[in-house]
């Protein structure tokens, strides 16, 4: 069946199947509007992180610092708000501070990304090590800024990003959709995106094709950092606080979603639609399991199992790419080739 040949189609079938399964197992609750809406509020925060992971993976790299960046950005924004626009302040009054806080978060995210980009592009550090180390540094700064506790006390306007609706659609969902489309456009319709994909396919050939690999990698990681910052802001809004260690399980989830979505961790292949479908599958699975009163721990179990199963299935597609991948920027996944 040719339809099974494309990972994205396989994924679409899986998504539908999972949805049907969950609906069948608890029809009244799963198919209720309340549930569907609540799912739409829950997934964007980790979905945006998955988008960030997708971009770096397309270049054959990985960004293990996304959680650290998300938290640091949120902490910076939160500290600004708590200091200058504490709870109780009127909504209109708080707006300029909100704008400042959000902008600062994005700047923090982009700067963090730039640091990653410099480490990977200029120092030729393998992305795993660069983002492992930088992630610790970013998380560490967040810890230092907060002393380890949560930052709270925001004006009501903060809640808008993560909890309200626009035209009946949850705002986080709108944000995610816009970002997903933007990434899709970036990857398929811009010279930057095409170059990123080609670089991931063969970094050495990219050099010979006169692609500015330094600039490319820098941009990739800056975008990843900015996306992580947005995710951090969504998390902050939904949790109504910011802390250095929120979302620690999201790292695995982001990698899982990217891989499940058909992104090749060795680089050069991946489509945003696949990632979107993967996100939906994971959320449906998660909510469904919740309804079946399956514990949170089982979720971890299922994610881990799913990641391995997906890779087993995809292994044929990738083993070819791996044996031909020359060394330029160092290894991502620690493979010897």
């Amino acid at each position: 069946m040719r339809i099974l040949a494309s990972p994205e189609w396989r994924l679409a079938i899986i998504t539908v199947a999972v949805f049907a399964l969950m609906a069948a197992l608890s029809p009244e609750r799963f198919l209720s509007e309340g549930n569907l809406v609540s799912m739409a509020f829950q997934f964007p925060e980790f979905a945006i992180l998955a988008l960030a992971m997708t971009l770096t993976m397309m270049t054959g790299g990985i960004d293990l610092s996304v959680i650290g960046v998300a938290n640091l950005s949120a902490v910076v924004a939160a500290t600004l708000l708590a200091s200058f626009a504490p709870a109780g302040i009127g909504t209109v009054e708080s707006l300029p501070w909100l704008a400042l806080a959000y902008t600062s978060a994005l700047i923090v995210g982009a700067t963090a990304g730039a640091i990653n980009g410099l480490l990977v592009a200029r120092l030729a550090l393998p992305p795993i090590l660069a983002t492992l180390g930088s992630g610790l540094v970013f998380t560490g700064f967040a810890v230092a800024l907060t002393g380890g506790s949560a930052v709270m006390g925001f004006p009501e306007s903060v809640a808008w990003l993560g909890n309200s609706r626009m035209f009946g659609i949850p705002v986080p969902l709108i944000v995610f959709t816009l970002l997903a489309y933007a990434l899709h456009f970036l990857l398929t319709r811009t010279s930057f995106g095409l170059r990123a994909t080609l670089y991931g396919a063969n970094p050495l050939a990219a050099l010979y094709a006169a692609i500015d690999t330094s600039k490319l990698l820098l941009r990739v990681y800056v975008i990843s950092g900015a996306l992580a910052a947005v995710a951090g802001l969504v998390i902050m809004s939904r949790a109504n606080s910011a802390k250095a260690d929120y979302g620690s399980s999201y790292l695995l989830l982001a990698v899982l979603i990217a891989v499940l979505g058909g992104v090749n961790p060795y680089g050069g292949r991946g489509r945003v639609i696949g990632v979107v479908l993967a996100v939906l599958s994971m959320q449906i699975l998660s909510s469904g399991l919740n309804m079946l009163q399956v514990s949170n721990f089982a979720r971890e179990l299922i994610w881990g199992a799913l990641l391995i199963v997906v890779m087993l299935i995809n292994t044929v597609d990738w083993s070819e790419r791996r044996s031909k991948q020359p060394e330029v920027q160092g290894k991502v996944t620690g493979e010897s080739s």
């Binding site: 090590l129 180390g133 610790l136 230092a144 391995i308």
Partner: protein, 333 residues
């Protein structure tokens, strides 16, 4: 014969780490004279047991050309299951049998990693990210999620056995647990395997060039499988020691330490690309990480900056050699 203290010596990872450790200790003892005492030493040694065993295992995986982040989950799984099994069947089991049980469970879980990596050839970082969640999720879902503080007497006895104990001149108590001997044993055994057996040399060979290893007839799959089983066994040992010394079987512990372990190994000179790694370097890396984790405050840095310190160490410790390599490559024709 050139002096051993030439440029190459000074730029080696191990030397740099050793220098940093010495500096650290100097600053620490300057700010707090009690730092250089038997108490501090034994405290630090105790803190390095579990980390050290993990690091030796992680080093082995790096040498073989892979990277494993699931060992903490294996450790806590093995520890918890061994504890629960003992409590449920033969509570009076002596500690060495409980330990053997934990090691075997760890080895079995490692074998699963080996299956995916050696047999199916899946990318190691992502697979072990998956098995990390798989093992931990399985543990918490199907085995249990409560912290057990009433440990089997065997484990309690072990935690009370000391290699050395006493009181310093200033009246401070120091004690080095028997568990430290386990670290020593692991270090010696691993060193022996790596340097004195063809198996160990094959691990280096595979890390250096998997394709060449295949061509001269090394059984790459079997060797890789061994690596992951061995690391799993080590993790089982580390886990049960952690449980004993901590007087608690906590299924939520240990996971999260992976980063510090990888940091230690990488600082010690093991390369992500495989084929390189020394026991001495890894131990030095462990020592530095342990110092940072436990004694940062003594040199005046609050412990909230711990992560930053470790992160910076990783970046500098790996960034320097990477930058040198890049410079060398640019000079090349």
């Amino acid at each position: 014969m050139k002096s051993v203290f030439n440029k190459q010596f000074w730029t080696r990872n191990e030397t740099l780490v050793a220098v940093v450790i010495i500096l650290f200790c100097l600053i620490a003892s300057a700010s707090d004279p009690r730092f250089l005492s038997a108490t501090t030493l034994t405290d630090l040694l105790r803190a390095s047991i579990v980390l050290g065993i993990f690091a030796i295992g992680a080093m082995l995986v790096l040498i073989s050309g892979g990277i494993d982040v699931s060992f903490t989950a294996i450790a806590v799984f093995a520890m918890y299951v061994a504890t629960v099994l003992t409590l449920g069947t033969i509570p009076s089991l002596p500690w060495y049998l409980i330990f053997t049980l934990s090691i075997l469970i760890g080895a079995a879980l490692g074998a699963l990693n080996g299956l995916f990596i050696a047999r199916f050839g899946l990318p190691t970082l992502i697979v072990t990210l998956g098995t990390l969640s798989l093992f931990r999720g399985f543990l918490l879902t199907f085995v249990g999620s409560e912290r057990i503080s009433k440990l089997p007497p065997g484990m309690r006895d072990f935690s009370r056995s000391m290699l050395a104990r006493g009181t310093t001149e200033s009246g401070n108590f120091y004690a080095l647990p028997l568990a430290f001997a386990a670290l020593v044993f692991v270090v010696v055994l691993t060193w022996f395997i790596l340097h004195k057996t063809m198996l160990g040399r094959s691990i280096f060979a595979i890390g250096g060039s998997e394709e060449s290893a295949r061509r001269i007839g090394i059984n790459v799959r079997a060797t890789q499988f061994f690596v992951y089983v061995y690391v799993g066994a080590l993790a089982g040992l580390a886990g049960i020691i952690h449980g004993s010394l901590g007087r608690m079987a906590d299924p939520f512990s240990l996971v999260g330490l992976e980063l510090s372990v990888i940091a230690a190994v990488v600082l010690g000179g093991a390369r992500l690309t495989g084929g390189y790694g020394t026991v001495s370097g890894t131990l030095l890396g462990v020592a530095l990480i342990v110092l940072v984790q436990n004694s940062l405050i003594v040199i005046g840095i609050p412990s909230t900056w711990q992560s930053v310190a470790i992160g910076l160490l990783i970046l500098i410790g790996t960034g320097l050699p990477a930058w040198q390599a890049k410079r060398a490559a640019e000079q090349a024709a």
